[in-house]
């Protein structure tokens, strides 16, 4: 029952466990569906079939509640609805909808259960069911954890089918024909004689009848849209400068705000002198807010300039001022008192280590910034009757709650107009910028305030990916890897993040070692222990969360043990793999890359496999060691998401994830000095540039069963595959990220 005790990990529903005080609600609560939020605003003559589809005399509107950070969530949600509704792209509008329990995330529960995704045992499935029930009862709406596709896959097709069948019933009532005689296509009912009735002309009739909820979903072989390359709904706007993001939103009478917060994050504001700033052109007000000061002006740049002119006396950081001490705190965490969880204990590692020649190595993964290209921003208007917020955010209901707490309104009085985001990578799971905008707007009730972070403020106040140290001991014998004893220490990203969201979190944090404990290898002796370092700098979920750091440490150490064994890196991984779907992923990567063939002088190849969010991903990276440094030539990626819903967007997301993983592995880290992040802009945290970009070949397999998301899983294998390739090309093992600390890149 050790596992049952550990029902608590990353994901927001964990907080729900604490809030609900355990699994203390009845079947009724779980079975009851939350109310349809579209009914609240239903207009005369408008049919609202369920929380996702509404039709009036003029138009069809599809509600796509998952936030769009660039991953194409709006398009895939709309496609799932449109597939069964029989409407085509161009025949409907989309809307993020208002925050609602009805949009509870049906996939968060799976990720929250503390089992390997390959574990289909009764205990694992039962626990997933309990977690799902918790998420539903608490009404946890959120975008994250690569959950948009798995959450939406069945639910939205069903919602589309319900609307279609209800429209058919309305048409049958109107024409006197039977439902069986009616067909649907292109947003119309087709009568046996070929005549048509537009869905919009049936809205009034459909609104009079209860939705037909007994529906059968079409077999994938009948799909018109899904599984084929689609033109994303936002692609024209994003290619013509006409896509509006939160930073572009305009509200009548709006003023512009900039903030300066203690760069020693969480430290106090002792005093400040804003006399010069106040006298600058366009400056309207200077307002003290939690942790700093806001300047309100009539133009963003003027607000930035004035904020820079304020003189501050800041208090010290509540964490070690120097980076060296952050590493030291991790290094001191490998002890029994700080053991967070022993995730694996297969075979008998102690005996295997005692009987073999032990190979040891230590790895480090640093703090890394999110730094999406659109700096954080939010518009807030506070009025007596309610609050309006215009911003891009991944947790709409928690945002409402936190804003309401600042302005003194009820949660339901906070209206969120969710916006397209210029990237997130986890940044927009955080609430600080919205809370700050709410504080400023609350001090200026009646005036809409747009807060925009400068890039420097965004870097200084990012909550980066947590740093970690991995220590491995292992034994290879007779050409095989026989034992691995891996320990990973890091601060708890879940603990840091949830404390800001005001959600208490019990239990261990799986993300300390995700990417290490959950890979479906069958090492004869494998022990994996995670240690919880003290909270240091505030940290946050960064694309794929724990898996990029722990996956680097696990896979690079495995690569070293395979090298010690004298085995082939690909063949030995395939031999050790204990999961058919994952083995096929590795074999496909080998096949795509013609693994084992002759390479030109100076070239080297590395392979890595990391599973995250239920998606097994194998990547082969090929590099050339040149006089100017390492040149990235090619990458082959194979992964399995169960079903590829849009091959065009899928390929783009996989390539982008690989580039994101490689770029940060090459040259990105956040380090602290005097309590402050030393990197202030992209020159010091660059990522990959176009000229460095390798060719990237992608294959999406469909053997996995469950439909999974692809936003995050391509990221984690990139760093270890690159490090392993550099070893193959140069003989040099690099055990620390970013790799640029030890090697130059072309």
């Amino acid at each position: 029952m050790g596992r049952m005790k550990t029902i608590a990990r990353r994901t927001f529903l964990i907080g729900s466990v604490a809030v609900a005080g355990g699994v203390a609600f009845g079947t009724y609560m779980v079975k009851r569906d939350p109310a349809n939020p579209l009914i609240d605003d239903q207009q005369a003559g408008e049919a609202v079939f369920n929380p996702w589809v509404k039709i009036d005399g003029d138009k069809i509107t599809l509600i796509t509640p998952h936030a769009d950070k660039g991953q194409g969530a709006v398009s895939v949600q709309a496609a799932l609805l449109a597939e069964e509704l029989d409407v085509e792209f161009g025949q409907f509008d989309t809307d993020f909808g208002k925050p609602s329990k009805a949009y509870w995330n049906t996939a968060f529960g799976d990720e929250g259960a503390p089992f390997m995704s390959t574990d289909q045992s009764f205990l694992a499935e039962t626990t997933r069911g309990i977690m799902d029930a918790l998420v539903k009862v608490m009404g946890v709406q959120g975008t994250g954890g690569s959950s948009s596709a798995p959450d939406s896959y069945e639910k939205l097709r069903r919602a589309g089918a319900v609307a279609r069948e209800t429209l058919k019933m309305a048409a049958a009532n109107k024409t006197g024909l039977s439902v069986e005689q009616l067909k649907t296509a292109n947003g119309m009912i087709i009568l046996p004689d070929g005549k048509t009735i537009a869905y919009t002309d049936l809205a009034v009739d459909a609104a009079q009848i209860p939705p037909i909820t007994e529906v059968t979903l079409r077999d994938p072989s009948q799909w018109r849209l899904l599984g084929k390359p689609m033109q994303r709904l936002d692609i024209v706007a994003k290619s013509t400068g006409t896509q509006n993001y939160g930073i572009d939103a305009k509200v009548d009478g709006m003023v512009h705000a900039a903030v300066k917060l203690n760069p020693r994050q969480g430290g106090k504001l002792n005093s400040y002198d804003a006399a010069d700033a106040k006298a600058m052109p366009g400056v309207r007000e200077i307002v003290e807010i939690t942790g700093g000061v806001a300047v309100i002006a009539n133009n963003t740049w003027r607000a930035f300039q004035a904020a820079d002119a304020i003189e501050f006396d800041w208090g010290p950081a509540p964490y070690p001022a120097e980076q060296y001490d952050h590493w030291k705190a991790l290094a001191s965490s490998f002890n029994d008192d700080q053991l967070d969880s022993q995730w694996r204990n297969d075979g008998d590692v102690d005996i295997a280590l005692a009987e073999g020649r032990v190979f040891e190595a230590e790895y480090r993964s640093p703090y890394v910034a999110h730094a999406p290209l659109e700096p954080l921003n939010a518009i807030v208007l506070v009025e007596e009757a309610g609050v309006q917020v215009w911003t891009g955010h991944q947790m709409p209901r928690q945002l409402q709650l936190l804003v309401a707490g600042i302005t003194g309104h009820e949660q339901e009085q906070v209206t969120l107009h969710n916006q397209y985001m210029g990237g997130s990578f986890g940044h927009r799971l955080e609430f600080e910028y919205v809370k700050q905008a709410a504080e400023i707007a609350n001090a200026m009730r009646g005036t809409p305030v747009k807060l925009t972070y400068s890039r420097e403020e965004d870097f200084a106040h990012d909550f980066p990916r947590h740093l970690s140290i991995g220590r491995g001991r292992g034994v290879s014998k007779n050409g095989k890897v026989v034992a691995m004893d891996l320990q990973i220490a890091s601060p708890s990203v879940l603990g840091s993040q949830m404390s800001r969201a005001e959600i208490p979190v019990p239990g261990p944090d799986a993300q300390i070692a995700t990417g290490a404990w959950n890979n479906p290898y069958d090492l004869p002796n494998y022990r994996m222990r995670a240690y919880r370092a003290p909270e240091l700098a505030p940290v946050s979920s960064w694309r794929a969360v724990g898996a990029p750091g722990a996956g680097f440490e696990f896979d690079c150490f495995l690569d070293e043990l395979i090298h010690e064994a004298g085995a082939d890196p690909m063949a030995e991984r395939i031999r050790l793999m204990n999961h058919d779907v994952s083995r096929k992923v590795l074999e496909t990567a080998a096949e795509m890359s013609s693994w084992g063939g002759e390479l030109a002088p100076g070239k080297g190849r590395g392979v890595a496999f990391v599973e995250s969010f239920g998606v097994p991903v194998a990547e082969v990276v090929e590099v050339t060691a040149t006089e100017a440094g390492i040149k990235l030539d090619k990458v082959w990626v194979a992964c399995d998401v169960g079903r590829v819903l849009d091959p065009a967007n899928f390929e783009n997301l996989v390539q982008g994830g690989v580039i994101f993983g490689l770029g940060h592995a090459m040259n990105c880290e956040i380090t602290y000095a005097d309590g402050m992040a030393e990197q202030s802009n992209y020159h010091a945290h660059e990522g990959m540039r176009l000229y460095q970009c390798p060719q990237i070949m992608v294959k999406g397999l469909e053997n996995g069963g469950r439909v999974r998301g692809i936003g995050e899983p391509p990221v984690p294998p990139a760093a270890p595959a690159l490090a392993n390739a550099i070893f193959a090309a140069t003989g040099k093992r690099i055990r620390e990220l970013p790799l640029s600390r030890h090697v130059d890149f072309v």
Binding site: D234, Q243, W301, R455, N652, G656, Y682, Q692
Partner: protein, 152 residues
């Protein structure tokens, strides 16, 4: 102070040192041009001044000489420029925030050289950062646009 943007003349009353970027975005409400870094590291604010790609965050309005073209002036959803059409065809964008700058940079390149080599594309386009990693599609789209422009 007078400036011409996308063929339209505007009168603005601002400090000489306000960057063109913020005059466009906050004074004229032209928001296709994006703020990303403020220090010429990301290229999201790229516009054309007399046809040449420039980082508008680095041009104080008092120093501006020439006609400004933003992405809105390059083409529209109804009448796309060849580069925009290629960006749509290749479905380049993910979040899309950098793409106005990428497109303006590519359009400027192809205006000077409608048959760029891979190395030339890499050299010219590497000042524009894409955090989502759409580089493979940017390369492909630049080539498609070049072909369209050569055949026009």
């Amino acid at each position: 102070m007078n400036l011409t943007v996308n063929g339209v003349s505007h009168e603005v009353d601002v400090e000489d040192d306000m960057p063109l970027l913020w005059v466009l975005r906050d004074e004229l409400g032209i928001t296709g041009v994006k703020y990303g870094c403020g220090v010429a590291q990301c290229g999201a604010c790229t516009v054309h001044v007399d046809g040449m790609a420039v980082r508008s965050c680095q041009v104080p309005i008092g120093d501006l000489e020439g006609q400004v073209t933003t992405i809105e002036g390059l083409g529209s959803p109804q009448a796309t420029h060849a580069v925009q059409a290629a960006w749509i065809e290749h479905q380049v964008a993910q979040c899309g925030y950098c793409q106005s700058g990428q497109i303006m940079q590519a359009a400027s390149l192809l205006e000077l050289n409608d048959d760029p080599s891979d190395d030339e594309i890499d050299a010219v386009m590497s000042g524009n950062l894409c955090r989502c990693g759409t580089y493979p599609r940017i390369r492909a789209a630049v080539k498609t646009a070049a072909k369209t422009m050569r055949e026009a």
